[in-house]
């Protein structure tokens, strides 16, 4: 859910568009990170851990901790807490460590 009224802040979100989470259409705004748009849509599981396959979510939100790794447009291990969402972007839950394309 997005905050519409706030006692201190006004949010200028910019252009509105859709992108894809595991193939499902999700709404995003130009100013938002992928993780913010996913949270607004109620999506908090971002992947699973490589060995025990436990669900993984956001932790630091500033690109420090690697908890939010997802596959973005085919590229694995992307820190979606600092990547802005873009129209038509394909974001997928990452299984395992991902395969780097060369």
């Amino acid at each position: 859910m997005r905050i519409e009224e706030h006692p201190v802040l006004d949010f200028e979100r910019g252009e509105k568009f859709t992108f894809f989470y595991n193939g499902q259409e999700v709404e995003g705004y130009a100013s938002e990170t992928v993780v913010a748009a996913l949270h607004a849509a109620g999506i908090r599981q971002l992947g699973t851990s490589p060995e025990l396959h436990r669900p993984r979510g956001l932790f630091c939100a500033i690109g420090n901790c690697s908890s939010c790794f997802m596959t973005v447009d085919g590229e694995p291990n992307m820190r979606v807490c600092v990547i802005k969402c873009k129209p038509g972007m394909r974001v997928e839950e990452q299984k395992g460590k991902g395969v780097v394309r060369i």
Binding site: R2, F11, G57
Partner: protein, 363 residues
């Protein structure tokens, strides 16, 4: 290879102030900031700052961040690279970074490391469930992105961050079930604690989190009172239903670059981790490398700004800029720091800095 006079690593409160003070003496500065928006953690701080007018008391954190950024942007001697992560610092003084998707080398004459800090984690069963966030992460979601980060939160830690973020959650329409604190007393300022207690949020001291539970996501937490040996007291367990657990259990200095550069380091508990040994002018044991802000010990943004100012002045003066004006300005900054660290809340920091000095640091 890009040649610069002064490289500032990090565009937070310390880094921006370092850049501005160095340029005020005439030096040319490059600031490398890994985020797309400089300002560091100020960008998400909606509360008003304390301190004196010199540290912008009365202004909200994000407004101070915007003001510093505007000053730096309009300063012809300051260049800012955003989306730029500094990766390495080498024996010959070359610094490498990722900039514009490319690997770029920089050769600075002086470097100010103002890389900030990272939130600490806490060990308990279930701590990896989605829905367990650093308090700063929740602040980013709600205050930068304007997204409601949770429905009901358990806040772990009653230092200033735990208290402030609890109040901000309430402002964003999120219910805060409780703030728990393992220590016997609230660590943050009384004014913040009173605010959230007035808002009806209970602050439970001598409490710890036993576990987080839930199917694939946080559905609740079990907490319990602890005794003087930090052991849970049987019969005091409570179940808190919540979809988010926020950890506000302190910060660690981000000192990787200091280690890599070969700066002499010391573990100082009061400064929240390993910190570089520095002299009074914030120069490390590696000549030409200065530090400012949380890298040199966890404090507040106000002291980070003044440390930035001092490190920037010192770096510029060592290059021969403003040699007449610098000593006075440096002294002023040192006095400002003393003022900020005076009083009971600064006791821990003063003790930590004494330990740094005892290890051959500040002269």
């Amino acid at each position: 290879m890009k040649q610069v006079e002064i490289l500032v690593v990090g565009g937070g409160p310390a880094g921006l102030c370092a850049a501005l003070s160095a340029s005020s003496l005439g030096a040319k500065v490059l600031v490398c900031e890994r985020d797309d928006l400089p300002g560091g953690q100020l960008v998400k701080q909606t509360h008003k700052f304390f301190g004196s007018e010199k540290q912008y008391a009365g202004d909200r954190g994000y407004q101070i961040g915007q003001m510093l950024l505007e000053k730096a942007k309009s300063d012809p001697k300051v260049e800012i690279w955003t989306d730029t992560t500094v990766l390495g610092i080498y024996e010959d003084g070359v610094v490498t970074c990722e900039h514009d998707g490319k690997h770029v080398k920089i050769k600075p004459q002086r470097t100010v490391i103002a890389a900030g800090a990272a939130e600490k984690f806490l060990a308990f069963p279930g701590n990896d469930l989605p829905g367990i966030y650093g308090a700063g992460a929740v602040q980013t979601l709600m205050n930068v992105s304007g997204v409601k980060p949770a429905s009901r939160v358990l806040m772990v830690g009653a230092g200033n961050i735990g208290l402030i973020v609890s109040y901000q959650l309430k402002q964003a329409g999120v219910e805060v079930a409780a703030v728990i604190e393992a220590l016997p007393k609230i660590g943050g300022y009384l004014v913040h604690a009173s605010k959230i207690q007035r808002a009806g949020i209970p602050v439970k001291t001598c409490y710890t989190i036993l576990e987080a539970y839930g199917e694939g996501k946080v559905e609740g937490a079990r907490i319990a009172k602890i005794d003087a040996n930090w052991q849970p007291i049987p019969g005091t367990e409570e179940d808190i239903k919540c979809d988010t657990i926020c950890l506000a259990v302190g910060l660690s200095p981000l000192t990787e670059l200091c280690w890599q550069a070969g700066c002499e380091m010391a573990y100082i508990k009061e400064l929240s981790g390993h910190v570089p040994i520095t002299d009074d002018y914030l120069e490390t044991t590696v000549p030409g490398i200065y530090v400012a802000g949380d890298v040199s010990g966890i404090e507040e943004a106000s002291s980070a700004m003044v440390e930035g100012k001092l490190a920037g002045l010192s770096a510029a003066a060592s290059l021969g800029y403003g040699v007449e004006a610098a000593p006075g300005l440096q002294k002023e900054a040192m006095e400002e720091l003393d003022e900020l660290r005076a009083g009971p809340m600064g006791e821990r920091i003063r003790l930590g800095l004494e330990k740094v000095a005892a290890k051959g640091g500040a002269k």
